[in-house]
Subunit: 357 residues, 2 copies
């Protein structure tokens, strides 16, 4: 199928998932691991989270083939209490390890009310929403974060000491779409800055600074040694630090500059990431149906807000992405022809017989 | 003792605490409840959190005497699992109920690894750091939030639907000061805006909007029907929504406009607040000493950052407040003579024999 844009092609989600799973299987992953990664990547594309989608297949394959991402492990439980698990990811595929972590958190939460799984020795897990949705499907609140390679200075500093860390929270609802907050703690992303630079556009105040740490609206100056700022300055930096502690310090994972960057690091080197994965069983607080009714009522009361000029609707966190997913799973996912070509090259090298859908 | 500023007086922390406790006892609070509230309020003043300090005594007394804050209850457990408690605050003193909640969370975390206490029917708890420090003293990570009366619109809206909600996280350390993040999710506070207006100063971009929802650097326009923005726009709004769900929807507390405002509401009406109070036992993940060493090392690596021009030191969240507390507990707390006079009036009405220190 061809979309209107010649640089993009509409691809069927299910067919793409089968193809990507075959690529991972050919690279040595057991069938269930291959399917897990494929599902996670294609789901991200379906929800418009392109940067966590199948465009990462060539990079992931590079890591798998060099040994930085290990196939054939779902991690190993190191410690366990009634509501806590410490999981050694054994340098496995981030999606496989993090799915396992959320499964264990849900299991703990079912019995104890809350479950927290700390993960060390893991790799890039992609889109956090994928795991939070699993908690939602189990009538639980899911919450997770991860540490990451250093691209953000402390407030007042210029040394890169922590990542632009994400927080993902999913909350089940009744008739309304679930709440699915999935955000990084900086005001923007490298992708958005690069896009603005390419288009010759200015960036909003508060997004980023130049190489001297001075505020700038010139995206090129940000790319030339500047950096993106945490939201709310010292506040966002404080939130990053907490996420870094929960996912990294508490789990025994690598910290700061010890972490191998996905892009610039040795392909053979595992990233050594830490994650913090939590499930809260709403049933411990009130009947699930009552909680869902309360959520729906809260969402509706907010959506009835008087709107600012130019705004047509109050959107809840995740609403845009979940609606997009519904549409794309039906009509296909628009993917860059360039990305598809790169995946085809990797697939051919691995001896995948099937053609890209 | 007189401080350099004639409108302020240096007051001994311990003496002030005894006096405030007597005020609450005279108003009918059992001795232990009176001491809890007094300790919480004076601690906030010691850490420079004036807006959550003894300046609230007259307002609290108004609520206590009218029945909006009830004395003589530490709340009642409604539901309990291995790691969760749902606590009915029975409209008690916010400080008493929230202290109880953190105590129960710590107890749960000691046994299960993690403890979450959801609270409903509570009142203003003041400074979140007070309870997080209790977790820290028990070698645990403490995390709490609360919902609050509506002063913030949803992203894209202009109806006030949620509070400028706080998140407090405390993390134990070894030789370094503990991490004590205690922040609200909006870019500024009403106090700071009013102060800028009084001084005739502009406010930074991104802080607030006027009554039409348009960005403004004029603090007076914010006071005249405008509002303060969440950090990072839709991101901070998303964080507020999650805090609102955890503290309010999940606990069965009042939501949004149902909540009685501390200042504008009927003094006889309980606020009906909900809180989310969590403790994580670091011992469940690794030996406490190892965790504390990792925390110290992480803090030191961050503090070694190259600094931006004009910056003399990287400060960790809570560092300024904890150092201030140490100094003020030794040398006295500077308090507004006006505030002290108001407290003296209330104390006299209640028949407190002692004089303000």
């Amino acid at each position: 199928m061809a979309s209107g844009n010649a640089t993009e092609r509409l691809v069927d989600a299910a067919a793409l998932e089968r193809f990507v799973a075959e690529v991972f299987e050919r690279a040595g992953a057991p069938r269930d691991e291959a399917e897990r990664v494929a599902d996670a990547l294609v789901s991200a594309d379906a929800r418009g989270m392109t940067s966590h989608g199948v465009m990462r297949v060539p990079m992931y394959m590079k890591k798998v083939r060099a040994g930085g991402f290990k196939v054939g492990t779902k991690g190993k439980i190191l410690r366990e209490t009634a509501s806590i698990i410490l999981l050694d990811g054994e340098d496995g595929l981030g999606q496989v390890i993090t799915w396992r972590a959320m499964e264990e958190a849900i299991r703990k939460a079912r019995d104890a009310g809350a479950g927290i799984v700390g993960v060390l020795r893991s790799n890039h897990f992609g889109e956090g929403a994928y795991y939070a949705l699993h908690a939602i499907k189990n009538d639980m609140i899911g919450l997770l974060t991860t540490n990451g390679s250093s691209n953000t200075p402390a407030h007042g500093g210029r040394t890169m000491v922590a990542g632009n860390l994400p927080l993902t929270v999913g909350v089940p609802t009744d008739k309304e779409l679930p709440i699915l907050l999935d955000m990084a703690m900086c005001a923007s992303s490298k992708g958005k800055i690069a896009y603005a630079a390419k288009k010759g556009e200015r960036i909003p105040p508060g997004w980023a600074v130049d190489s001297n740490g001075q505020p700038t609206d010139d995206p090129q100056k940000v790319l030339d040694g500047g950096w993106i700022l945490p939201i709310g300055g010292y506040k966002g930096w404080g939130l990053i630090l907490i996420l870094d502690i929960l996912s990294g310090v508490l789990t025994g994972a690598r910290l700061g500059l010890e972490i191998t960057d996905l892009f610039t690091g040795e392909p053979s080197s595992p990233q050594g990431l830490g994650h913090f994965v939590m499930a809260i069983n709403v049933e411990a607080f009130m009947p699930v149906a009552e909680f869902k009714r309360r959520m729906d009522a809260r969402i509706r009361s907010i959506k009835q807000s008087e709107l600012l000029p130019g705004v047509t609707e109050i959107l809840m966190p995740g609403e845009r992405e979940l609606k997009l997913e519904r549409e794309r799973r039906k009509n296909g996912i628009p993917l860059s022809v360039n990305v598809l070509d790169q995946i085809a090259v990797v697939a051919k090298e691995l001896g995948v017989a099937a053609k890209l859908p």
